[in-house]
Structures are given as structure tokens and as C-alpha cells.
């Protein structure tokens, strides 16, 4: 077998390690297990770093929007502030409510954390930089990211706190409602590519900016807009952050969590924000395609731009109310996405366009 992260040219150390491993004479299934474990650790490290970076970046952006500096004390412009925060959270006492539902309370942050990372099995960070190119790629991502809602519901229930319960219930209602327009806007792209594989979707957008689905009129931009709205809700970010809503529910589902368990929720939130942005880039902005720079830089750069968009939403808009949120989804987003997809399917069938 070869490395699933194929770019041995990019990171020659990988192929060297692989040869070393092969020379030990390990049988094939074991070899695969070792390789994938190694990959899992690498991905985990990369994503944890990304999440830490995003936290720092969000604080800087928020600061500059609000006419202040954000973190400034730790290093250049506070670059290791979030690392210190993580260390602080690690050291904190793990406060556990006496009346909690023990297993549910314990597993909720774990599931949230794992679900956030699972999606990265099939997200291509660059040309060939993908752990496994599943033929059901986008379907798989949609399926595993929805696990998050189970964990939020568990956190709400397990805490045995009314605010947490309200937060958990809200998040369940919200994610279920916004899953529909999100999938429906993704389907437009899937329809035209004819494949669910992430690599195929990116390859279909090769050859210049006008091949990116975000710029292919008229369905692309509409699908992108509906996607980004639904994705903001999926990632629980303002203006759709009603499960947390600190001014209403104190902190919503994670009100009883402290220390590392809270950090897991917190990091998972940022990983989720990165996931939905990465999917937006893959589906609508040509994934790793770009000129001159290496493909992974293009991918990361584009993804950070989408994350920036989410951050701008967060720091300029007020929060919607829970019923208005539902209304917006079912009465506006769902009809728009469905009309979009039906007309797109018609065009595809007639072979008129695209």
C-alpha cells in the first residue's frame, strides 16, 4: 500500500518513515493500523493547533472590530495566549455537579470532541493530502458532524440544570432544522458533479475561478448563500448561537462544565467552524485549486477567509430568537433551497447549462 496522505514529495520524511516501517516485516493489516494511527495523531495535532489559532484569531478580530487590541501580552500580539488558556483549563478543577447523570455527563464532551474531528477523515487539505478519499465523502461528513447535536443534548440532560436543558433542547431543534437547507444546498453541487467524493468535487472545479461553483450563475451563488447561513447555524455561531446564548441561558448546554471538559466543547466549536468553512471551500471555492502557491496553502487560505466571514457575522449581528430561528429556516431557507435544487435538476436533466 502507499501512504494515504500521498504527498511524499511534500513531506519526504513520511516516505522515509514508511520504508522504515516496511523493513520491520510487519504483516499488512498491522501495518495499516500503525499507519492510520499515526495519521490520526498527526491530524489531531494539526487540528488542535488550527483550533488554538482560530481562537486567537477570533479574539484579535473581535478586538479590532471593537476598537481594542485583543490579546497583547503573551508574545507578539499575544500569539501564545490561547496555549496559556488551554494550559490553564487543563489545570482547573473538574467540578462535577452532585445531581448529574454520571455517564451522560461524562461522555457528552467526549462525543462532541470526537464528532468534531471525525469529519477530517475525508477533507482534502491539498492535492492528495487526504486521509481517505471515501466515495461517499460529503455524505459521511454530514453524517458525523450531526453527532455533535447528540452530545449537546446529552450535556443538557446530564447536567441536571434547567438552563442547560433548555440549551440542549434548543440545539437539537436548531440543528435538525438547519440540516435540511444545508444538505439541500450541498446537493446542488453534488448534482452537477455527479459524485459524492470530495476529491471528485474539487477536481470538477479545476481550471480557473469561473469554474468554482460559487461563481457559476445562477444556482451556485444561491446555494453558497443558503449554505453559509445554514452552516453558521450548524456551527452554533452568532446570530444563531441560541444553544449557548449567554445572556439568556447563562452558557446553555455547557453551563455546568469546567476545566478540560469545557475546553473540549470549546475546541470542538472552533473545529466545527473550521469544518463548515472547509466544506464551503471544497464545494464552492475550488478546494485546493489555485496558482503558484502549494495546494494546501490555497486550501487553508480560502478556508480562513470563510472563517473570517463567520467571525464578521458573529461580531456585528445580534442573536435571533429561538422561534424566529425556526421560522427563518422552515419558511425561508428550506423553500429557497428546494426551489433552487429543483430548477437545477431540471437544467441538469435538459442538459441546458453548466
Amino acid at each position: 500500500m502507499t501512504w494515504p496522505i500521498a504527498t511524499a514529495e511534500l513531506f519526504p520524511i513520511f516516505s522515509y518513515l514508511y520504508e522504515l516501517l516496511e523493513s520491520t516485516g510487519l504483516p499488512q493489516p498491522w501495518l495499516a493500523i500503525v499507519v492510520y494511527t499515526f495519521l490520526a495523531v498527526v491530524m489531531f495535532g494539526v487540528l488542535a493547533l488550527l483550533a488554538l489559532f482560530l481562537v486567537w484569531w477570533e479574539r484579535k478580530i473581535a478586538g479590532h472590530i471593537q476598537q481594542r487590541f485583543g490579546p497583547m501580552r503573551h508574545g507578539w500580539h499575544g500569539w501564545y495566549q490561547t496555549i496559556m488558556d488551554a494550559v490553564k483549563l487543563l489545570q482547573k478543577e473538574d467540578v462535577r455537579v452532585a445531581t448529574r447523570d454520571k455517564p451522560v455527563f461524562f461522555w457528552a464532551p467526549v462525543i462532541c470532541f470526537v464528532a468534531a474531528f471525525l469529519a477530517y477523515v475525508t477533507i482534502p487539505f491539498g492535492e492528495g493530502l487526504i486521509v481517505a478519499d471515501l466515495n461517499i465523502g460529503i455524505l459521511y461528513v454530514m453524517a458525523v458532524t450531526t453527532f455533535t447535536v447528540i452530545s449537546l443534548l446529552m450535556a443538557g440532560w446530564g447536567s441536571n440544570n434547567k438552563y442547560a436543558l433548555l440549551g440542549g433542547m434548543r440545539s437539537a431543534a436548531q440543528v435538525v432544522s438547519y440540516e435540511v437547507p444545508m444538505v439541500a444546498s450541498i446537493l446542488v453541487v453534488v448534482l452537477f458533479v455527479g459524485s459524492l467524493s470530495m476529491v471528485d468535487i474539487v477536481q470538477a472545479q479545476a481550471g480557473g475561478i469561473w469554474n468554482w461553483y460559487a461563481f457559476r450563475l445562477p444556482f451556485g451563488p444561491i446555494a453558497f448563500c443558503t449554505y453559509i447561513i445554514a452552516a453558521t447555524a450548524e456551527a452554533n455561531r452568532t446570530p444563531f448561537d441560541i444553544p449557548e446564548a449567554e445572556q439568556e441561558l447563562v452558557a446553555g448546554f455547557n453551563v455546568e462544565y469546567s476545566g478540560m471538559k469545557f475546553a473540549m466543547f470549546f475546541l470542538a466549536e472552533f473545529v466545527n467552524a473550521f469544518t463548515v468553512s472547509a466544506i464551503a471551500v471544497i464545494l464552492f471555492f475550488g478546494g485546493w485549486h489555485g496558482a503558484l502557491l502549494p495546494s494546501w496553502m490555497w486550501f487553508l487560505g480560502k478556508t480562513f477567509m470563510i472563517v473570517l466571514l463567520l467571525m464578521l457575522f458573529r461580531w456585528t449581528y445580534p442573536r435571533l430568537r429561538v422561534d424566529q430561528l425556526m421560522e427563518f429556516s422552515w419558511k425561508f431557507l428550506v423553500p429557497v433551497t428546494f426551489v433552487n435544487i429543483i430548477i437545477a435538476a431540471w437544467f441538469k436533466y435538459a442538459g441546458w447549462y453548466w
Partner: protein, 367 residues
Amino acid sequence: MPELRTEEFQVNMGPHHPATHGVCRMILTMDGEKIVKIEPVIGYLHRALEKICENRTYAQCIPVTDRFEYVTAMSCNQVFAMAAERLAGIEVPERAEYLRVIMLELNRIASHLIFYGVTAMDLGALTPFLYGLREREAIIDLFEMTCGQRLTYNYIRVGGVAKDIPKEFIPKCHEAIDVITEKMSDYEGLLNENPIWLVRTKGIGVMPAKLGIDYGVSGPVLRASGVDYDIRRDDPYSIYDKFDWKPAVHQNGDCFDRYLIRLDEIKQSIKIIKQALEGLPEGDIKAKVSPNFKPPAGEVYARVENSRGELGIYIQSDGGKKPLRVKMRGGSYCQLQALPYFGTNCFIADLVAIFATLDIILPEVDR
């Protein structure tokens, strides 16, 4: 299919809750996300201010009143000083009156800027908070320049004001109000036409004018319900009748109007300050008053319009150097007592919006 059984449950909102602006506790009876009943529980911040005043001379009471309603501490100073002056028949020099009006109106702007930021923050928009506090900072700097304090001023004294303004005050004040006038368009641009802001505030928490009057609600909250009643104009005190301004009135009584009216009041206050700065006469800043003056026996009620409504002080004197009885009346208390009657039947998020736009400050409720 069996019918789903639902039941109401109770949630304690407070005493420690991010949206209650202090230590207010509300026992909410909820049906899912809907609020069926609100039961405010007050007294967590009770400091017996009225009783403390009874054990101090009139001059010593002024710093206590700072703590009564610290967001607009100037008007608390003012109302106590006014009551004592009426009791003892003290004439205040004209320059002192002008300085008082300038300070009161600056303080009103500062309070409304906090309102702007905090209300937006309660509705989930975190940025306006910093914007509001940024301009407030300029006003607080003016106070610091004048009396050395940034929050509890102890500036307006019985018979006048504590200190004259420094030379650089007037240009700095002009500068500050020019900046605020300019930034008003920023504030309005950020929220006034924001669709999310509109759906969150329009038609939410409508307080009928009659309910407001019945429960003694006053100030901007009542004016947002269409009652054109402003103590500065209807029961003129100090020198408010010399200036050209008119109270802002809105008709709907919902959260959006309560928000708009504060922005309008900032504009009116700027108008008053400009006129007062122009007409500022030379002269004494304080009448000659003995520190231990003894007003004749009697009673007096003085009231001012502060940014939360009618702020009144009742003093009963037995002819001694200390007041026999002091009673403070704050607008927040009345607004909180009216809340259960128009704040129900809405979502918990709406309650946060209503509570924020009532602009309740808890020290004034609990005294």
C-alpha cells in the same frame, strides 16, 4: 398516539445572571420557552441608604446619594441638594445652576450610552457595547477633570457645586459632544435598520401607557409608550426652562421605541449642553452654607428627571442638623414592579430584551 404530557417549570433567573444587570432575581414560571409568570425578588442589594442618611448631616448625605444610583450619580446629588435647599431656603448662584445642568445632561448621555451598549449586548450583539463605552469614556474624563471622580462624583453640593470647572473643560466638552454627535450615526447605522435587531425588538414587550401610569413608571420608558411627560419640562427645576429643547416621545411602547427614545434623548441632551455652555455666566459657584446648617422643621419632596425616570427624595426635618427621615424614590423600582404585567407570554429571550430596555439598575431598586 398518547397525548404528550407537558408541565410548567420554574427557573430562577438571577440573582447571578448575565442579563439582570446586577443582583435581581426573577422566579420565572415557564412553559417550555414561554414565560407564564414573572415574580421579581428584590432586596439583594439593600444597603439601608435611607437609614444611613438619617445619621448624617445634610452635607454628609451627598456622598451617600452617589451610591443610590451610580450610573447617573450626578442627578442623585442634584435631587438631594435640591431638597435640602428647598427645606432651608437656600438660593443657588446662577453659574452653579448652569454647571449643574451641564453635568446632569452629560451624565444622562453617559447613562444612555451604557444603555445602548448593554442592551445590544443582551440581545447578542457584543460590539456596540464597546462603542458605547468608548464615547462614555470622554464624558467620564470630563467629570474626572472637574471633580476627580469617575463614578461617584459628590460634585453637586447643597447650595451649589463643589468646584469650578477647569479652563480646558469647555473646549474638551465641545469636542466630546461633537464626537458623540458624529458617532450617533454609527450607533444608528449599526442597529436601527438591522433586520435581526428589528425582529428582536419591534412589537416585543409592549407596555400600555395606562399600565405604566398605574404602576408609577416614568421617564423614557413611559415616554416610549406615548405619554408626553418629562419632569424637566412639566415641573421645571434648576434652569431647564431657559433652554430650547423638547422631550422625545414615541408611540408604540415596545422595545424598539424604548431603544430609539434613548438615542433621541442623547440628541436633546446635546442640545441643552450646547446652550448651557454658551450661556454659562461668571460668578459664584456656591452659596454660603454652613456645613452643619439646620433647616427649619418641615418636609419637602424634590424630584428630577434622571435617565431612568422620576428620581425623588423626600426629607422630613425636625429642625436638627440631621434629617429625621429620608425616602428615596427611583424609576427602576416602578419599572420592575410593572414588568410582571406586560413581560409575560413571551420567550425568555424577549424577557431579556424587555429587561434590558427598561434599563433597570438594581441599586436604585433595592436602595
